[in-house]
């Protein structure tokens, strides 16, 4: 009962003191707001870049060309062999007739040439189009596919794919590092602003100690105050994230610059980002206050 009374008083006092020290509170809130906006932008950018790289990587396909004399039975055996491999995501068969039809349909020139071919003259081969689970192992998977009987040639954009994967890997790591660094810098900025707020109230802490407030009793209101500042500071970044990103998404029709770059759907993405921002604001606000107060408790 007593502890409950003290806690409810602490919460009341925290709210009071946010408003009584309004100019200082405003400084902390603005600092949190501005830094969290930057964090929000960088999180949204990073996650979109990551998703783009993943989509591109998923699009990479191994094409296995089967030799010209392959029979239906052989094809079935090849499919069984392919299914035995562990890095296979999806297998699609495309017959030479279908490929020829597509080619003829796509251009008049092809049509003229290809319509003159007699049976057995066509150089076009049946293919299996294979998507892999792990793009890093695409080389060894392609090799294994090449060893299957009746598989003539295996192509997956050798050389280029490996380069793409390593470049994307760097992009992902760098952007993640940038976000983490930014969050740490944000934390320091916010903690320092709160430190200044509390520095101007060291007299209050001194009086609290003087009248017999225990250390925990002194810490709690400041920690709650930090929490309130953190929550208030994250409101604008959250609104900007939810409405800003959705508006941007709608304006570009979900794609950026070209059809190639597809943006992440706003729901539920913006809510996850908002949650991250809120948590950063709350944790940093509380932790910042706690650190700053502790400095004045050592007597």
């Amino acid at each position: 009962m007593k502890a409950l009374r003290i806690l409810s008083r602490n919460i009341r006092d925290s709210f009071k003191s946010v408003f009584r020290n309004f100019s200082l509170s405003l400084a902390s809130i603005s600092c949190i707001t501005i830094t969290l906006i930057v964090v929000a932008i960088s999180i949204i950018l990073t996650l979109n870049v990551n998703r783009f790289t993943e989509l591109v990587e998923k699009d990479v396909t191994i094409i296995a060309f089967l030799d010209l004399k392959v029979t239906d039975e052989d094809r079935q055996l090849i499919l069984e062999e392919l299914n035995k491999l562990d890095n296979i995501e999806k297998i699609e068969f495309e017959s030479k007739t279908k490929i020829a039809e597509d080619m003829m349909a796509s251009s008049e020139k092809f049509k003229n040439i290809m319509s003159n071919w007699s049976e057995g003259e066509s150089p076009i081969q049946d293919t299996y189009q294979i998507k892999v689970k792990d793009i890093n192992k695409i080389g060894s998977t392609a090799k294994k596919i090449g060893k299957i009987e009746h598989v003539d040639i295996v192509k997956y954009g050798e050389g280029m794919v490996e380069q793409l994967v390593s470049v994307f890997d760097i992009i992902r790591k760098v952007s993640l590092l940038a976000v983490v660094a930014l969050i740490i810098v944000t934390a320091f900025l916010i903690i320092n602003t709160i430190k200044i707020t509390i520095f101007s109230r060291r007299r209050e802490i001194e009086i609290m100690r003087l009248v017999g407030a225990s250390n925990i009793n002194i810490k709690i209101p400041f920690v709650i105050e930090g929490l309130i500042l953190g929550i208030l500071g994250s409101i604008i970044p959250i609104i900007l994230t939810i409405y800003g990103y959705t508006a941007l998404y709608d304006k570009f029709g979900g794609r950026l610059f070209t059809n190639f770059i597809e943006l992440i759907q706003p729901t539920p993405f913006v809510f996850y980002v908002s949650l991250i921002l809120l948590i950063i604001g709350m944790v940093v606000g509380m932790f910042g206050s706690l650190r700053a107060v502790r400095k004045y408790l050592k007597i």
Binding site: K2, E204, I207, M208, L210, V211, N215, L297, I299
Partner: protein, 235 residues
């Protein structure tokens, strides 16, 4: 019975300065004691050790049964709840009302609202400021602010009231008003230790007076005054 016992207390600051040398002192419950002496004689250090703002380097300090020297930082509040402290600069929260300033000392103890209200009004009544409960400190005169600080210090019913030059910032008339309040509190049974420079107050009240010089007790008068020859000589 002794409320305060100091035994062979020595205080040496990190800078090497020795503020208190081998000092022993007993103060009885209900006493009113002045601590006087020239600037730098150690009187501030002495009372700071009583409310554990400073720790003695050597010796024993017992206040109201608590071994102050052995008290850990995190347990200091236990001592502070037994004593009240009043300073020259009042140390009030300027953004809180008079009522809130006084109530603050009880809120940290987790008392119920009604009990806090009764005690705060009683304390404000004792210092004659009941009618200013809703004012803010900067709307009050210096003497009134000091009375608020006294109300805050005694609202919890402490056994000991420590006053560090409470009249240092006040004129003679206002000082005497503060002394009247302190005497009234003393008569209710609270022990008071007061550091002062004010010759007029010491001369008029004729209480036990401890004269410090270079960290040692030079004289301890039963009813000493500044007009005493030896005190004058040390000034």
């Amino acid at each position: 019975m002794d409320l305060i016992v100091l035994k062979n207390v020595k205080k040496q600051y990190k800078t090497g300065v020795v503020a208190i040398h081998d000092l022993s002192l007993n103060i009885k419950k209900g006493d009113f004691v002045f601590v006087i002496g020239s600037t730098g004689c150690g009187k501030s250090t002495l009372i700071k050790m009583l409310y554990r703002e400073e720790k003695p380097t050597k010796g024993k300090i017992i206040v109201g049964g608590l071994d102050v020297a052995k008290l850990r930082n995190s347990k200091v509040y236990k001592l502070r709840r037994k004593i009240g402290v009043v300073f020259q600069d009042f140390k009030l929260l300027n953004k809180s009302t008079v009522y809130e300033n006084v109530a603050f000392a009880l809120e940290v103890l987790g008392l119920p609202k009604d009990e806090i209200h009764d005690k705060v009004i009683k304390a404000l009544d004792l210092v004659g400021l009941k009618h200013k409960a809703k004012n803010y400190p900067n709307q009050l005169s210096g003497g009134e602010q000091q009375r608020v600080a006294i109300a805050r210090a005694i609202v919890n019913g402490p056994k000991l009231l420590i006053c560090d030059e409470p009249t240092g910032n006040l004129d003679e008339n206002t000082s005497m008003e503060i002394m009247d309040v302190l005497e009234a509190i003393n008569k209710l049974g609270t022990t008071i230790i007061m550091v002062t420079h004010d010759t007029f107050i010491v001369d008029t009240l004729k209480k036990r007076t401890i004269l410090l010089d270079s960290g040692r007790i030079l004289k301890d008068y039963e009813k000493g005054t500044y007009s005493n020859e030896s005190i004058k000589n040390t000034k």
